[in-house]
Assembly symmetry: C2
């Protein structure tokens, strides 16, 4: 995806707008977002925004499209800063996390600062987008708070998928929906793209949970098995518990007795050779297929479309279930 991202019309304008929003009289307020931004990232959300609008026939990205794409990425960045505080994550993308490098107070305030910047970007847009942004951000916060308690054994797969829908898919939905709103502006395309974005986001989150188990530190940019260690209600953890595995019960629902390395090694050994990962992957593929169907329907009813960018959107769906980092 990396090369497509670089060449995507509007992406450099989005990145420039994002960086311009870091400007502050306070050096740390400016430095922390710059540090996080420089760590890189897939820029999935702006990419989805720009590709969706382009596929729907917007030949040149409009200023409002650039603004919402930048706003969504700024919101995402704010959540990354705050998530690292919540998870006490020391590493992000092979480097110290902002939380470790700058401490809780600075990182917390830098996240607030990015939220403010994002919202004032979005506030200048259409009422429809403002409402959609509020809904997405509320759901995002709800999804994150519902995920907080140490491993909650009573969560079932339906509940954990609802958390994924809120904490991750809400911003994906906002990206695709805003793009359709600005490119086409009306039903039924709008609703199809909203659905497309949401399903894509859930697939993306499920694969995130899978990668935490099957990928490598080299690709992840942090140690594998973090969701296990934190006993997060990830899709994988919940499926593992539901599989009836004795080990999952002992590791995830009882006080942690082993050291961290042993804990993760045992869990990974069982998970990597068991059916849980296959079931999670199948779930991701199911959501990706639903995303595809929604995209099919949206494009079929669009007044204009661009074949090359539609193809790129389908490639983006495939990427969410096949990516390795």
């Amino acid at each position: 995806m990396a090369e497509r991202l670089v060449n995507l019309p509007g992406m450099s304008a989005v990145e420039e707008l994002i960086r311009s929003k870091f400007e502050s009289d306070s050096s740390s307020l400016q430095e922390i977002p710059e540090y996080l931004f420089a760590l890189g990232g897939k820029r999935m959300r702006p990419m989805l925004t720009l590709l969706s609008a382009a596929a729907l026939g917007m030949r040149t990205p409009s200023p409002r499209l650039i603004e919402i794409a930048a706003g969504i990425e700024l919101i995402h960045m704010a959540t990354l800063l705050h998530d690292d505080i919540i998870d006490k994550s020391p590493i992000r993308r092979h480097k110290q996390s902002a939380f470790l490098k700058y401490g809780v107070p600075n990182t917390l305030l830098a996240g607030d600062f990015l939220l403010v910047r994002a919202f004032s970007l979005c506030a200048r847009l259409d009422r429809h987008i403002i409402d959609a942004t509020e809904q997405a951000c509320v759901e995002l916060t709800e999804g994150e708070i519902e995920e907080i308690p140490l491993f909650r054994a009573h969560l079932n797969v339906t509940e954990v998928l609802e958390i994924a829908r809120k904490k991750t898919a809400a911003l994906f939905r906002l990206a695709a929906e805003s793009a359709a709103f600005l490119a086409v502006g009306k039903e039924p395309v709008l609703n199809c793209f909203l659905e497309f974005g949401e399903k894509l986001g859930v697939a993306f989150q499920i694969l995130d949970d899978v990668l935490d188990v099957i990928s490598t530190e080299d690709l992840l940019g942090k140690k594998a098995g973090q969701d296990l260690l934190e006993r997060k209600p990830s899709v994988v953890n919940v499926l593992w518990l539901e599989s009836g595995s004795e080990l999952s019960k002992r590791l995830l629902t009882e006080p942690q007795l082993e050291g961290e390395d042993l804990f993760v090694a045992k869990a990974l050994a069982e998970l990597r050779h068991g059916e849980t990962i296959q079931r999670a992957r199948a779930l991701a593929i199911k959501y990706a297929r639903e995303a595809e169907s929604a995209l099919d329907a949206g494009l079929a009813q669009a007044p204009n479309k661009d074949k090359a960018y539609s193809t790129a959107l389908y490639a983006l769906i495939r990427y969410t279930t096949e990516r390795l980092e």
Copy 2:
């Protein structure tokens, strides 16, 4: 002020709107803001908003006035939640702080949630108010981040007053400015009210710093001397250091050797009988006078005004330098 607050037209609508914004599918996301709101508070910012508009002749508070008043208080509440995490404050208004009661992750996310709710309220208002809200929130975050490092001996009074202007006065300014914008809508009244709100906010913050030293646990709702313990660059601490006091140097710029109680007892004993507090009070009164002059000028040029509410605004200024909690 308490009785005036209750009877102020629009205040119950503001409080109702604020509470309605706590609604969430996640129980903790709803519970934390409700807990904080129920702790009470002076509701200074909505009061300033409503009184300013009423003094400028707005007979019935308009829906937009109610919205900006609620939005500003929601922003203020978000900063209280995040401040408690930053300061690790266990007590607020005689009760456990949200941070202590609900933990860092929940409190952090509840603060984000309130910011989102506040911004989506403000985003529905006029462009002028959206821009002013962004500026105020950026300054607020800047003021707070500049205050973070353990006692920074190199800060002088000018710098610490600039921090007060940003972290506290920015929202006061937003309150008075938005009210003038909605009630009158144009210069020169707008600028005078902006100035009035800002000076009032600085006076309010200086007295906050003074009260931390001279008031009692009973009135403050938390132990006195917190700014000392945290070696905050408060106006009082900076003035104390500038006074050349040996004790201030030892307590504020060297590693803390005494236990907490002894530390605070020593500092309070010297401060309560020295000139530092008088100098800080004089500074608060200077800002209050400037607020008064700006209010004089604003009202003199206003097309309509209400005498009773103007009188209440002058009383609000006096209150900021005479209050005991």
